[in-house]
Symmetry: C2
Subunit: 330 residues, 2 copies
């Protein structure tokens, strides 16, 4: 989608990096949360974003960033950044920092993913195409596997992971990437309609999607919204909203385990009313979400949306389901 | 795989085009087989290949080409060409020829597919990357959907099809693309070991893969092999062998319907003994092969091969299963 002349364009589409660390000597004392704030700030400077807010929970540290979010648990690091941030530039320094400060010497698995950008030409050279991103990652990893799901000439979603990844604890991630958003819903995420993050969280209905979460939310000026939510057991949700009508985009992500994500999907669609969305679900064999691809296989309509694509990918440790839906043009 | 200095390199990997035609006025008299040989020869000149041999069956015409094969039925055209042929250049002229000579005015569906080339830089500009091929096809079709299955940074397989494709009769296609072939098996497809096509077909065991087929086979000089096989009901098989050790490659393709392709797969593997292979199965909802993705989902080893990738893609009318296997390096 090209912005009209003179309109400010913002690339809401995030780059998402998840890395699982392990110690070759099985050192139980390693913990990513021992890394100091100043070290994170230095790392994030490479990515071209800053920490806005911090929240601590028993199992996880959560950071709202000037461009999206960061989550840190004992052995897993998640960094999600939008706009023209330069996420992949920091991977090498991250590995060095983690080795030096925490003692983790091995990357157990890596997941780098993103939707295709609306305006790739505005990105840093490294992020202008998935081919370039893959070249960069292939220089660091000998066993990287690069996939494209969806349609290369329309909307698609890229993934880079390790072919010999080995995360054994139950794990699942649901991501919903939504665009062509409902204008009136998007108005909530502007200073015209909401006073602050808390106000937007309530008015939009975000607070009711998953009850009982501890929320850190932020409303940007004049518009834009980010929230991190934490639940006991190391579970998180994160939502980011780019409300401008000419480049509207919302992302929803969670690792909350569910045997079926249909109810959650309906709740999120009801809050945001996108024109189009894609959904990805990663679930390893130990996860209760491992049959998601079976449930999704026959779900060719949901809440008035028609499915345009459904793909399933069996990775070494994970099942990955990719689905895209659109509201029919009347 | 780069050829050693001075060795002749041949790109065995084919470009495969399958087009289904229909008439907007439902004109039952349209038949692609009314196109004259001189017109096919003119079209194939654009692709840079020639007809070597012709075989007629009740439901299908079969052509062995200097670079692979062509099959023509009443409403379906299949062209498979290897080397540095320029297949996609001919699509526009094909549509014009078919309209003028047969009266078909509509393309019901199109499937253009290929594995990644070993040496894309040796191809015509149009075929040097899938992006370029997609650009070319997108100029002709407004509803094209482009997919990549497998790993973009290793071995992968590209597909371009129509999002609104509408082939309603039962249809299925199995393709096995094999490489890093067994040297002694490949020797059979040289003039050193075999006198002619018939001799190679017999010695290799190809004649036993599907009994009762009418075979048109050809052994090139000094090496290389092509065969087309026809069965009643409009069923075909086609095999092409590039035996040179530094660029060995074999393709097997058939539309013979099977509820499970496991036995056939074992037979083909036994004849050729590849080091690696990928398998694709297209099956529409009317086909008895429509559950192939379910059978393949749990088949992570077969005949000593280990699965590296398994993907499933639900297209508008077809289920598509992609699987890659390798023999473990001992």
């Amino acid at each position: 989608m090209a912005a009209a002349a003179g309109q400010h364009f913002f690339e809401g589409t995030e780059k998402l990096l998840e890395i699982w660390f392990t110690s070759s000597e099985n050192d139980k004392s390693c913990d990513l949360r021992t890394i100091q704030r100043k070290d994170w700030e230095k790392l994030l400077k490479l990515v071209r974003c800053e920490i806005i807010s911090f929240m601590k929970h028993e199992d996880m540290d959560s950071y709202v960033l000037s461009e999206s979010s960061m989550f840190v648990t004992k052995n897993r690091f998640i960094l999600k950044t939008c706009g023209t941030t330069t996420l992949l530039i920091a991977v090498k320094q991250l590995a060095q920092l983690v080795k030096k400060e925490c003692g983790y010497d091995t990357i157990a698995d890596i997941f780098y993913s993103r939707k295709n950008f609306s305006r790739p030409e505005l990105q840093h050279y490294l992020h202008q195409s998935f081919d370039k991103e893959v070249d960069h990652l292939d220089q660091m990893f000998t066993n990287g596997a690069a996939y494209v799901l969806g349609r290369m000439n329309k909307d698609c979603w890229y993934l880079y992971t390790l072919e010999n990844g080995r995360v054994e604890q139950p794990d699942q991630t649901l991501e919903l990437l939504m665009w062509d958003m409902c204008r009136s819903k998007m108005e909530i995420f502007t200073r015209n309609q909401s006073i602050d993050g808390k106000d937007a969280t309530k008015k939009s209905g975000i607070c009711d999607i998953i009850p009982g979460i501890q929320i850190d939310d932020y409303l940007f000026d004049p518009c834009g919204y980010s929230m991190n939510g934490l639940l006991p057991g190391g579970y998180y949700i994160t939502i980011h909203v780019t409300p401008e009508p000419h480049c509207s985009y919302v992302s929803f992500e969670t690792n909350v385990p569910q045997a079926s994500y249909q109810e959650l999907l309906k709740k999120v669609l009801d809050v945001f009313k996108p024109g189009k969305f894609l959904m990805t679900v990663f679930a390893n064999t130990a996860s209760i979400a491992k049959d998601t691809h079976r449930h999704m296989e026959h779900l060719d309509t949901i809440e008035g949306y028609m499915r345009s694509d459904h793909q399933f990918c069996s990775l070494k440790n994970y099942y990955l389901t990719y689905t895209q839906f659109s509201r029919p043009v009347i």
